[in-house]
């Protein structure tokens, strides 16, 4: 059960082009599983920015000196995240979590490939530790536009059997997209399960490759959300259900983790005409 906590900032640090914030927020850590997210209010009590910002949980600690903490990674790309980047230790911050459906773990040890793009890599480390505890082999593939936008390469290297890095400009690792190196990695490491988190375009490419190899792929999507708790209906995407029917589902409640092959990738941003309840005349309005 998620809780709303008026916590406070414990620390804020720069990680390359990103920021990692740790909040003292009792009640969240205990129930957090890999893939869960938090929804953070920005701007203070009188703010004109009403919508919460959703971030994957990077790490939690149930018992620190100050009680439970939760850490997330963000990139400044608007007024809300700029406000977050300007916080100081002890500043109050209102956070709701843990939210969403987490990653599913294999029952038996399996060979897992974790694919991250940019700071989308953040939730993969809790996942990696959980997989390792189950005796899974972990390989990492991380991609970003530039070296300073790679997140957690060192941590991935320590945790994984192997690490592949790509950047768009070649400033670190191989030049190109992370999806470019996947087929080779999957073959070489005899990968059985793929987990991915990052931009939608990357997730789609990763899912396509996993489909070619006929192996299960779980993706944590990044859809823009207003509330994070299931009431605003803005973070929907077309997803095929167990019954074979497509519905516009909330990524905050039924996601953010989905089986990659259930998402109607080509139809993102639209309501496919065969969606349950789609308008009879057109699928685009």
């Amino acid at each position: 059960m998620p809780v709303q906590v008026r916590g406070e900032v414990l620390s804020l640090r720069r990680v390359g082009a990103y920021h990692a914030m740790t909040i003292v927020a009792p009640g969240i850590a205990e129930h957090t599983r890999p893939g869960h997210f938090v929804a953070v209010a920005v701007g203070g009590e009188e703010t004109a920015m009403l919508l919460r910002r959703a971030f994957s949980i990077y790490d939690v600690s149930e018992r620190g000196v100050f009680g439970g903490t939760v850490e997330f990674v963000f990139s400044v790309n608007g007024k809300g995240t700029a406000w977050l980047a300007g916080r100081h230790p002890h500043d109050p911050i209102d956070v709701v979590g843990p939210l969403g459906r987490p990653f599913s773990l294999p029952r038996d040890p399996a060979r897992c490939l974790l694919v991250g793009g940019g700071y989308g890599t953040a939730p993969l480390f809790m996942l990696g530790r959980a997989l390792a505890q189950r005796g899974c082999r972990i390989d990492f593939a991380l991609g970003a536009s530039t070296e300073d936008r790679l997140f957690g390469a060192l941590e991935a290297k320590r945790m994984a059997t192997s690490l592949a890095v790509t950047t768009d400009d070649g400033s670190s690792g191989e030049k190109g997209l992370v999806s470019d190196v996947l087929p080779d990695l999957m073959e070489r490491n005899r990968v059985e399960v793929v987990y991915a988190c990052g931009p939608m375009g990357m997730l789609r490419a990763v899912n396509d490759i996993a489909s070619d190899f006929e192996i299960p792929c779980q993706v944590a999507v990044e859809e823009s959300m207003a509330c994070g708790i299931g009431v605003c209906m803005t973070c929907v995407l077309p997803v095929v259900g167990d019954d074979g029917d497509t519905r516009m589902v909330r990524s905050c409640i039924e996601g953010p983790v989905f089986q990659g092959d259930r998402i109607r990738w080509a139809d993102l941003g639209s309501v496919p005409s065969d969606t349950v309840g789609a308008a009879q005349d057109s699928g685009t309005r």
Binding site: Q4, R6, L50, S224, V231, V236, R247, G269, V271, G277
Partner: protein, 364 residues
Amino acid sequence: MTHTSPVVIASRAADAPTPDVDLVTDLAGVTFPNPIFTASGCAAAGRELAPYLDVAGLGGIVTKSIMLRARAGRPTPRMAETPSGMLNSIGLQGPGIDSFLDNDLPWLHEQGARAVVSIAGSSVDEFGKLAQRLRGRKGVALVEVNISCPNVEDRGQVFACDPKAAAAVISVVRRNADVPVFAKLSPDVTDIVEVAESCVRAGAHGLSLINTLLGLAIDTTTMRPVLAGITGGLSGPAIRPVAVRCIWQVHQALPEVPIIGMGGVRTGLDALEMLLAGASAVSVGTAVFNDPGAPARILRELAEALAHRGVEHVSDVVGLAHRAPEQLVPEGADPLGDEPSVEQESSSLGQRERTVSFDHEETR
């Protein structure tokens, strides 16, 4: 090191007892324990808010608009943050009334919540069928008729923009419903009083004011509208003065008709402002996105604000701004500003005694 412990603010136990003010509110003969409701489209059917507040502790849960059949809504992006507000273009996505009656309504009833069921049809006939389906269902306190959703393809479909079309919908709902009927109106009209009067003549027991305002935001990077649906409904504190104005005008014209006020309420004082304008109850909408526990918090704040002002019954302040002479305001207290300090409060105690003897007949 001075370290203040963070507080878990949203659990049922944290819903602190409210000061000793009678908060009971009557809407067309239906009694609610307090005047703070959720707002349609901002609380789903209540269940999603259960981790953050006690749904039975609010006056009522106003559901997201229920339609006859499942509806997928509009494409994404459906949302744009705007100054002190947001645009939404959801397009009435929902599973349809069968699912609502099978799952959501029984859950609300089990919790002890009072459901104000918002219904939306694409034809007059559909509204009638929806009202019919709600007959005899346990837990339904009121029907709120959403004739004002701006997120439809055809502006001509916004019944609330036309007094005759609005009346046609209300009269068919009135014939089919077995609970009081509230018409939810749009502020996007030249004369909201005309539409309100038409709805009341057609049998509406009360009015819900206001739905969102039609708006548009353009992304200056892509140079295209932000929303896939191009236009969207503007909500949040940005529209509160519009809501207060609409409530004021309609209450002035129809003082006997109960109003549920909504539009940008974020604090207990915001809710009080709407009551003073003439609302008998207040729905909290977009504030929930910012603070899931907002309705419960606003209820506490309202009770405290009323206690500070020496008000014994919340019904005493309904529409009070239309008639309260200046001296009725406790000395030193800005009615829409901060709470009076303790000193100001004690120095004006005698005055506040006189303040509360209002004309009950007039305030209903």
